[in-house]
Symmetry: none
Subunit: 242 residues, 2 copies
């Protein structure tokens, strides 16, 4: 079978690569397989993508588009933390639905190659977490919370992918998810956690104000005042000692 049709060769190459990548259980996919399935010869591939890795990057980029679309494609519930849960679940589902693609995206991250995807995924989470912070529901900076949650999310998804599909236990996901969200949220504020007993109230309030200010542009302060104000606010909200 070949992916002929009226599609331009560039598209056919992308689809062929995606299909072979998705069905190759870890085995390496050769350019010859791809070009044959696409009904195209080798130079066409290198003309359009320069490289085998270039083609794979394009496939990953397409997959990432799909992922982002999924992350955005539900109505905000009004409860940011609930939306975070859905984003988490969507992330896991994406990984389980396209494990090979996911492994290329998040399993082989190397310092020099592709922190871009990670940064984008973080930004998605951070965006939603900022709303939570604005509602006073966040314990830490939205950015730090996003990094932490994403890390756990990736780890859980990789673990689930590694398991045979039959015995996958999604409880691992929900449990870890709720643990992370609970840890960054203020629901626990009165708790006995030893290290944040001193910082909590001031820092939480500062973080919330910071997020709220950035969401709604208050005109009570001039721009220069606001700049200095935000700087001080940042200083307070990043303080760790009481």
């Amino acid at each position: 079978m070949s992916l002929d049709g009226q599609l331009p060769p560039k598209m056919r190459l992308l689809r062929a690569a995606a299909e072979l990548l998705a069905n190759s259980a870890g085995a390496s996919v050769s350019t010859r397989q791809i070009t044959q399935l696409a009904g195209v010869t080798a130079p066409t591939l290198y003309h359009h993508f320069g490289d085998k890795e270039g083609l794979f990057d394009a496939v990953v980029a397409a997959g990432f588009e799909e992922y982002v679309a999924g992350e955005r494609d539900f109505a905000p519930s009004g409860q940011p933390l609930e939306d975070i849960r859905r984003m988490w679940d969507n992330h896991v589902q994406f990984g389980l639905k396209q494990p090979e693609l996911y492994l290329v995206m998040f399993g082989n991250i190397r310092p020099e190659s592709r922190p871009a995807i990670v940064a984008d995924a973080e930004a998605l989470l951070e965006e939603m977490l900022t709303k939570a912070a604005a509602a006073g529901q966040l314990n830490v900076q939205p950015r730090e919370a996003a990094r932490s949650i994403l890390a756990a999310n990736v780890g859980v998804t990789l673990m689930l992918i590694a398991e045979p599909a039959a015995e996958r236990n999604l409880e691992l996901s929900t449990m870890t998810r709720d643990a992370m969200i609970f840890a960054v949220s203020t629901e626990q504020a009165a708790g006995a956690s030893p290290e944040d007993s001193g910082k909590s109230s001031v820092v939480v309030a500062a973080i919330a104000l910071n997020a709220a200010l950035q969401a709604s542009h208050s005109d009570q302060l001039s721009s220069s005042e606001l700049k200095l104000f935000l700087e001080w606010l940042h200083r307070i909200s990043t303080s760790t000692s009481s």
Copy 2:
């Protein structure tokens, strides 16, 4: 340079492969590079390891021995949860010290190939968590806790590896670590403070910060800075627009 010496060829192959794998920044290592560095010809490799992947598996196994040794190599503090923290940190340190090896071990996990390593790492954690459970410090089953903590641990380590070494922020690790441990432990009994749920305006946040600042004297701002800061805060919190 070659790894000659009195070592048997099998060892030389292992060391050569480990060294090349450690220094190859993601690039693929060829059998010819390995055999040349080991001062050996190709059939020797296949005689001892059968396969290129067989050799790499052996390298991974050796690396895993080192990892396990590190996980066991500290005296139990008597506080299981504190020991879990050290195991977490040791895991991260191992990943950062040998990133390429770590990526092979935990980044490329595929359902059919190697859940063995994951299972062993889980068992290490579970062993310690069982002690915590015996001391009544655990909220969930040790096995579930181990799976969850390991997943987050792997995710965090992968994220840190993906970052340029210069700007690695280990706070991501400690924060996620404590979040996970806190979530599975029984320490969290204290109640929540649902008073400020639902509102998100700048004013509310400013008022909260104002109150919090006056309650606890933060030393992040000088007194003159603080005075001006509070004035602005007052201006914001008395504004009429939401």
